[in-house]
Structure formats: C-alpha cells, structure tokens
C-alpha cells in the first residue's frame, strides 16, 4: 500500500503510523461532557468501505494526514494535511482530493 504524502509523494505504508478513525470529535480539554468523551475514546464507525482516518508520516516529514481509504480494497481516494483539524467531519470522497 502506498500513501501519497502531500510533501513527500508516494511512500510505502511502513513509513506511516496509523492513528485511527478520523471521524471522532475530540471534546475541548476542559469539557466535562462525559458522553462526548466516551464517544471520542470508545465508539467507532468501523465501516466496510470508505473510511476517514488519520495517519502520521512518522518515517518521513512527520506531518499528520487525513486519508480516505477503502477498508475493503485499500484504495486511497484522498490525502490532505490534518493540521489544525481536531475535528474531522465525515466528508465526501471528492472533497479535499489532492
């Protein structure tokens, strides 16, 4: 599997660290909304198909990336910087395509 880093170009998956589901919404650090924290920590969409996820190019430029990958075929339809983006809403394949 190759992931095309916006800085570094297409690189082998072993250069990247998986950081999981990118659909989750992290509450503000001071938030005392237990339900929101629980949902953030434990609940996953886990789709069979396009999955919004965060990868870090840890063996390269170290940027955090927002990737849309199909969990059945591993086809990657979009890679973008995750910078400044604590919340990543589920978005359409076409959006953010580099």
């Amino acid at each position: 599997m190759l992931i095309t880093c916006p800085y570094c170009g297409p690189r082998d998956v072993i250069e990247f660290t998986y950081q999981g589901d990118g659909n989750r919404e992290r509450p503000q650090p001071a938030s005392q909304n237990l339900d929101a924290w629980n949902a953030y920590v434990y609940d996953r969409l886990n789709p069979a198909g396009d999955h919004n996820e965060i990868w870090q190019h840890s063996g390269g430029c170290r940027a955090h990336l927002r990737v849309v990958r199909n969990t059945l075929t591993h086809e990657i339809s979009s890679v973008a910087f995750a910078r400044g983006d604590h919340k990543v809403a589920a978005r359409h394949k076409a959006e953010g395509k580099t």
């Binding site: 599997m1 082998d12 998956v13 920590v41 434990y42 609940d43 999955h51 059945l72």
Partner: protein, 419 residues
C-alpha cells in the same frame, strides 16, 4: 450408542462406508424459530449446541452467510490457553479450558485437543518479573502456571537460540502446561453435528440483510432466503459485528475490524511440541500433526475487512521467527491467509443481552476467540435462555466502556491494534 465409535467405524468399513449420515442436514429455513443465531462460526454453533443441550431450547436456527467454517473458526492458528492476568478473563477462559478438556467426549467428535503447553518467552528480567506476576495471579485462581529457566527451556525446545549472543537473549519463560491446540475444523463440525442431532437447523448460504422490528424490539431478520421470525435474535458474527449492528440501526460500536495473518510451512519432522510465544515483538508458533509449522504475528495495524494481509507484516513475522530460530531460514512457507478480527477497545469480549430488546450480542473476540469457543457458546446460551448473564460473562457487558469498567488485560488503552 455413540454415532462415532470403534464399532461404527468397523461396521461402516465392512459395508463400504456407504451408510454414514451427513454430519448436519441442509434444511430450508422455517418461517419462525424460538431463537435465531446469526453467524455459523465457532461461537454461533457452540451457542446453538448449548442452547439445545443445557437449556432444552431446540427450535433454533443458525444462519450463516457463507459455508460453515468459512470465517475465523477455520482461519485461526488453534492456540488454546487460559493464561490471563485479570480475574474476569481468567475465570472465563479457565471455564473454557475445562470444557475443552472434555470436549471430544462431550461432542463424540475428536477435536484433537492436545495439551502440549504454551510457553511465553521472557527476554528481560523486567519481563520475567511481569510473567511471574501473571503466573501468580493465575495460580491464585486455581489455574496452572510455572516459571521456567533458560536451561529448562533449552531442553524443551532444542531448536531455540538460547545463547547469550542471540538477538534477544532468553532469560526464562512462563509455561501453562494445560494449554495447547485443537483442530479448528473439527470444532466447527463437531458443534454443528451436536446441534443438528438435537434439532437445530443450520442454514448455510443465508445472509442476514436486515432486522424485523416491532418498535424498538427485534422480532426477526430478513435474509437472502426470505424473512425469518424469532422471539430472540442472537448476533455472533465476529469480524462482521459492525456491519450487522448497522443493519439494526446501531452505527457505532466499541470495535474496530483488523486483519490478522497466519502462515504454515512445508511439513517437517517433529521440531517443536509446545506453543511458543516470542516476548520482544509479536510472534508465536506451534507444529501441526501433519508437521507444518503454524505461526503468526501482529495485526496489519489499520482498519480492514480485506480478509488478506500485506507484505510488510509477512516480512516482520519472518524476521521475528528467524530471530528465535535461525535454523528455519531455508524452510519454505506453503500458505498464508488472513481473517477479519473484531478488536474491542479493551481487548476483552462482549457477551450480553441487548443492546435492543429481543437482541443478544456476542463479539469483541480480537484474535483470541478460538480458545473461547466452548465457554462463549456456553455463556451466550445461558444469557439467551435466562435473559441474564452467567457470573462468568457478567463482566463482559457492552456498556462497560462508558461506565469505566474496562477489562484491559494488557493495559494498552483504547487502541485496538495494540491488544
């Protein structure tokens, strides 16, 4: 008289083996049942078996989307053990171990359960201390465990590199002698036959495509072979849990699906007669009765439903194998395959009533659910029959995550790929 015995073997041999009955029928689905079990893997089949045997509930259908044994029950590396740290896991897996110890007799089907032991290798003094702690926790609950020295390990597994110059020197290990392996297909077939003979309908090529509801209550399922109603609908679909729960309108679960690979080599002469785990990475190995070395390692590490693995993991598993057994460098690998594992957020399973009325849920087996097959079915059958959990599965609720009652044996936190 038992269906399989020395006498019946002899009799059928003399009559040309023409009179054996199929191990299970191929019935058409009825319009309704008392209980529907979704998923004809090890857990679904054992659930049906114990529903019939322990609770007298025989008007049961097991619905399997493919053929029986096409899921992880036929893909795993067959290690069976009960060497956990936390009491909830230890009690549950030890109950499973006790069922394994009598399973071939109980099913009148040889599941080839072989208590050849499971040895966890320690490579640092701190790791050995940690193993001593786990061994003590096990013994405290009546489970067998013993620490082994490097010299004892060298005698048990002569092929291991136990030298001080090994890449990761071995300083000792934790052994559970009652652990071992079993033949996975036989487990599926034995439970299937046992359930079938008690009246359970095992319906293959029958995919559940939706749930029938009366308000919140689940009252049946729609399938590729029509609608089927039931008072109770039990879900035991392992790696497909997220997809099936979505059909019931439940979009998020404390589960991620990840692929685990396994490998088998060409047949060798007896090489290793225990199940061995490496402590400085993720690698484990045993030898099948045919002589193939059966081994595996880490998950792929990212969500996947692909039922096949990738090359980086192959590379990693092979290098870990060679770190332990340099002598295997020229052995050829015959096959490799992958299965989709339902990784839970704390590495422990879920066996519970709900989450909707009329529904029962069994999932979160990670990559260790084969050993759980007997106890999982036994506890799930109890839960379905009595509408409450048995003490053995009471801790394994779905809401434990939101209530702060996680059962995290490894202490990894909510990162499923690390469990």
């Amino acid at each position: 008289m038992a269906e399989y015995s020395a006498f019946s073997l002899l009799k059928n041999a003399l009559t040309g083996n023409k009179d054996w009955k199929p191990a299970w029928r191929k019935p058409a689905p009825k319009a309704s049942y008392d209980v529907i079990v979704i998923g004809g893997g090890g857990h679904g089949l054992s659930t049906a078996y114990y529903l019939a045997k322990e609770h007298g509930i025989t008007n049961v259908a097991v619905l399997e989307k493919g053929w029986l044994g096409s899921g992880n029950v036929g893909r795993n590396t067959t290690a069976v053990r009960s060497n956990y740290l936390l009491p909830a896991n230890t009690r549950f897996y030890e109950h499973s171990m006790k069922l394994w110890e009598n399973l071939s007799h109980d099913l009148n089907y040889n599941v080839m359960f072989s208590q050849r032991g499971c040895l966890n290798l320690a490579h640092t003094p701190a790791q050995l201390d940690d193993f001593a702690r786990r061994g003590n926790a096990m013994r405290h609950l009546g489970v067998d465990a013993e620490l082994m020295t490097t010299a004892e390990i060298a005698r048990l597994v002569p092929a291991l590199d136990v030298s001080a110059t090994a890449r990761f020197p071995i300083v000792g290990g934790l052994m559970q002698r009652r652990a071992g392996t079993a033949r996975h297909d036989a487990v599926a077939w034995g439970y299937a036959r046992g359930a079938d003979r008690r009246g359970v309908d095992i319906i293959e090529n029958c995919e559940v495509t939706g749930f029938l509801r009366d308000g919140d209550r689940i009252i049946g399922v729609t399938t590729s072979r029509g609608e089927i109603r039931a008072r109770k609908v039990a879900v035991a679909v392992a790696g497909s849990t997220g997809q099936v729960m979505r059909l019931a309108g439940i979009d998020t679960m404390p589960i991620e699906s990840h692929v685990l690979q396994a490998f088998v080599t060409e047949s060798l002469k007896p090489f290793i007669d225990t199940v061995l785990t490496f402590g400085m990475g993720h690698f484990y190995m045993s030898q099948s009765d045919k002589g193939g070395l059966v081994y595996g390692g880490d998950l792929e590490g990212y969500n996947s439903y692909a039922q096949r693995g990738s090359l980086p993991v192959v590379d990693e598993v092979m290098s870990e194998m060679l770190a332990l057994f340099p002598g295997l460098a020229r052995v050829r690998m015959l096959r490799s395959w992958g299965g989709v594992c339902d990784m839970s957020m704390d590495g422990s399973p879920i066996i519970t009533t709900g989450p909707l009325p009329g529904m029962y849920l069994n999932c979160g087996w990670c990559y260790g659910g084969f050993k759980a097959t007997p106890a999982s079915g036994w506890c799930f059958a109890w839960t379905i029959a009595k509408d409450e959990p048995h003490a053995f599965n009471a801790p394994f609720t779905l809401d434990r995550f939101h209530r702060g009652l996680v059962i995290d044996d490894k202490g990894q936190g909510a990162t499923p790929r690390l469990h």
